[in-house]
Amino acid sequence: MPESASEHLTTAAIEQRLLGFLLERTKIEWEVGQDLFDTGVVSSLLAMELVVFVEKTFDVAVEREDLALHNFRTVRAMTDLVLRLGKATDA
């Protein structure tokens, strides 16, 4: 189920959803500050799945300049993006 933008998304909740997705797809336990792309584990295909997961799970649209690697490099960066886009949707 998508998290509605109007629901109160906590940092911890977002991180847990993202870590769960990454564990399921890569079979690796990731840290929130760990670089996902440095390892070579995350391919373009998985990166796309990650973007789609973020959009669908948190009901946000990641577009144009937000489609930058620095927003997806770590779970923490993705969490910040979701929080920022969630607020923008609410506004």
Binding site: G40, M48, L67
Partner: protein
């Protein structure tokens, strides 16, 4: 009056070289070797001789000998590296192809997507001037220098094509949309001024920009273009009989299948494995084969995706 394809001629070399036997392989690192193993390219075609002008001319000559016609306009899709500076590859192709009736010029700067831009331009040129009957398009694929492996993109094979776009041709060009984004203009480059040709090597300025940012932009852009083209034609994805794209890597096929929720036709994978990446020729070869051997019927729709890291994205809908 509809506008569509008159004829297509594709030239592929008889000689095949296994990717595992390419001379540059010995200088590759572990990541590049791993890329090759999963690229989906098994062999590449290699011409024994010829440059882009003469090979494109050979394709044109063969097409005109087989199908006839006196094209009014000749468009050459710009090669990866021109045969000469100041001189003219397209006029060389015109001379070698004996295309005496046409005014010749080049469409350039869009990489693999150039062929799709050229057939749309051909349609527009026919619409613009009722006295024109036929536009000839040509291109030859050769590596930029001596290296065929373009890590992390693909492996280059040799080939050349010629095709005509004519009034009343089939398949009919039913809908077409295209976009470019100049911010990726220097993502890939060959520093040809600093060394002799054997040392020319394609460089990727940022693997991250290619593998993530360009991929994500491609997902968004191509999705919107596909929706727009289908909407223009008044059909849905369910009405598409075959979806074709350029033959780059196996992972690229998977990426776009997942992005667009459309299966990429098996001919694309077969051509990638056998011939490698032929640049702007890929979609033409794929279209020719699917039209002649794909079991399609009149009225069926073929969707052709084409994009390049320049960056350009183009989607065309053809009706058989």
């Amino acid at each position: 009056m509809t506008i569509g394809i008159g004829a297509i001629t594709c030239l592929l070399p008889r000689k095949r070289v296994a990717v595992a036997e390419l001379p540059e392989l010995s200088g590759l690192g572990a990541a590049e070797r791993e890329f090759l193993e999963t690229s989906g390219v098994r062999t590449v075609g290699v011409f024994e001789d010829g440059d882009v002008g003469s090979l494109a001319g050979r394709a044109c000559k063969k097409l005109l000998e087989e199908y006839g016609g006196n094209p009014d306009v000749m468009i050459m899709v710009g090669p990866r590296a021109p045969d000469v500076l100041i001189g003219s590859d397209v006029c060389k192709a015109q001379a070698h192809g004996e295309v005496k009736s046409a005014v010749a010029f080049a469409v350039d700067g869009l990489g693999c997507a150039g062929s799709s831009a050229a057939w749309a331009l051909a349609r527009d040129l026919l619409i613009a001037d009722p006295s024109r009957e036929s536009v000839l398009i040509t291109f030859a694929s050769l590596p930029t220098g001596e290296f065929r492996i373009r890590y992390p993109v693909t492996v280059i094979g040799d080939g050349a094509f010629a095709m005509t776009v004519v009034r009343g041709g089939r398949p009919v060009l039913r809908a077409h949309r295209q976009e470019t984004d100049g911010s990726f203009h220097d993502l890939f480059y060959v520093d040809y001024k600093s060394g002799p040709m054997p040392e020319w090597r394609e460089e990727c300025r940022s693997r991250d920009r290619y593998s993530f940012e360009l991929a994500m932009h491609s997902r968004v852009r191509l999705s919107a273009l596909v929706d727009g083209v289908l909407d223009d034609a008044g059909i849905t994805k369910a009405d598409v009989s075959a979806t074709l794209m350029q033959n780059v890597t196996e992972s690229a096929f998977q990426f776009y299948e997942q992005t667009l929720e459309l299966p990429i036709h098996r001919f694309c994978r077969a051509h990638l494995a056998d011939a490698g990446h032929l640049g702007a020729m890929d979609v033409v070869l794929n279209l020719q084969r699917v039209v002649s051997l794909g079991g399609l019927s009149r009225g069926d729709f073929v969707l052709v995706l084409n994009n390049s890291p320049v960056a350009a994205w183009i989607v065309t809908l053809w009706e058989i």
